[in-house]
């Protein structure tokens, strides 16, 4: 895995108890600390060894230029393991006949602006245990909640994923997630 570009020291201090430690890898997070964020979102996703399927999906869905553009986005980025949960249906992602559905799938993972796990944690704290919601570039909003020391994101159709340490990019942020946030059961 390449060195992930995450947040400044003060930010990480707040993230670690919530997200970074969720996988029991505080040392890993510390080693990934970098505050430059010089790559575009597209470049950062492409160069991350755990997001190779997502990188291919973004290209297949014609969205690479969006993540190389000027506007800021937050990508709730399904890891390769997340795509692996699809089983045989994973192979359908790259088929041209599913391209529109793939684009719709990805849009449900894209949020406007830059949202860090710390930002989410702050909003959750202010909400006093209630879930909070964030608009997506898809058809609905995701909600965030806490389960123990983890931050969980839930999609409109009930898919859930936990957040991993974020990767800062020039034009936004990437937050890897361990499951897809939209149902993809495979063609019948």
């Amino acid at each position: 895995m390449r060195i992930r570009t995450v947040f400044a020291v003060t930010v990480m201090a707040a993230i670690m108890p919530l997200a970074a430690c969720s996988d029991g890898s505080a040392d890993k997070v510390a080693s990934e600390r970098d505050s430059q964020g010089t790559e575009s979102l597209a470049q950062a996703i492409k160069s991350d060894g755990d997001l190779s399927v997502l990188a291919g999906a973004i290209n297949s869905a014609d969205l690479a230029t969006v993540f190389d553009g000027k506007a800021d986005y937050t990508m709730l980025a399904p890891s390769d393991d997340a795509f692996g949960k699809l089983g045989d249906a994973k192979g359908e992602l790259s088929k041209p006949e599913h391209k529109a559905a793939l684009a719709a799938l990805l849009r449900e993972h894209i949020l406007p602006g830059t949202i860090t796990p710390e930002d989410i944690a702050k909003s959750l704290a202010a909400a006093n245990g209630k879930s909070i919601s964030m608009a997506t570039m898809g058809s609905g909003a995701v909600t965030f909640s806490k389960q123990g020391d983890k931050i969980i994101v839930t999609s409109p159709d009930g898919q859930q994923a936990s957040l991993s340490p974020a990767i800062r990019a020039r034009n936004g942020v990437i937050i890897p997630v361990d499951s897809l946030l939209k149902q993809w059961t495979g063609a019948t």
Partner: protein, 333 residues
Amino acid sequence: MRSLMVAAGIAAFAASGAFADPGGGKGQGQGGGKSSAESHIQRGSSGKHDDRGSGAERQAQQRGSAEALAQHGKGKADHPDRQGKGRSDDWAENRGGREGDNRGNGKFVGDDRFHPDRGRHDFNRNSVGRDIRVVEGVPAHRHVEYLGFADGCPPGLAKKFNGCMPPGQAKQRYAFYDQPNWWGLNDSRYYYRDGYLLRLGDAGRISGFVPLLGGALAIGNPWPPFYQPVALAPYQVGYYGLGPVNSYRYADGVIYNVDPATAAITSVAALLTGDTFRVGAPLPMGYDVYNVPYAYRDRYYDTPDAYYRYADGYVYQVNPETMLIASAIQLAL
């Protein structure tokens, strides 16, 4: 977050001419609020949040002829149901006020959703060299008006879809995303087919359609002639790095670059939330989390007196007590 708009015919931005950035002050309303009060400029690094609590009132054009008063500062909003409530409660209440859910309507009232990008258009350069301005209104990107074709389907689709008759048994081919709810629609008349969401009319014929990103609107495809070009505001053109008006198109929350000569889609330029933001109106649902881009976080950060949220190229200042949008801030071009 967007709401799919289904074209029952020709889709065109309502009042597309209003997307021009007039800088004039049309529709400034009545009872004052003109001139300097309608556009607040933040100056330099020392000017952080200096637009809060001023008590200045701004007139914001709301829903056609209606005028809404955007009030700044604590305790001045005329929304008693929001006063004194905690943040989370306010957010929850706002969820009921979401706009733009016009799915399935053959006719969409567009004029009253649009706010000309007006104001003084002053530019100031702060210590880090960013040009910003606060504007009164923000174009509602996705609000389109659908004209004609109350029943039937648009030219070009009749041949593709067997004279606009339902595809029949082929409908089950992609069962898992054929259904409308997968696409965020709650109308059972819709289904996916060949890069479109199609709507069945009362007579069993295709009566509406949505060409989809990656489907009918994939790179290399010609832009559908039934989707007329739209002119985004100059600010948006600059923000998203777009070219002349004939080099981009917009549909369903997506800005596409097209070849001006052939109108073939060459790339996807940007995704938009499609949410409607109006100065003086409640913040749309789904903005519970601070999301200002890194480059502007030193200037626009949440305080007890003001929240800041980003969407579609603008940062919105929000009154934490009322959750009303106090101002819309354009970012550097």
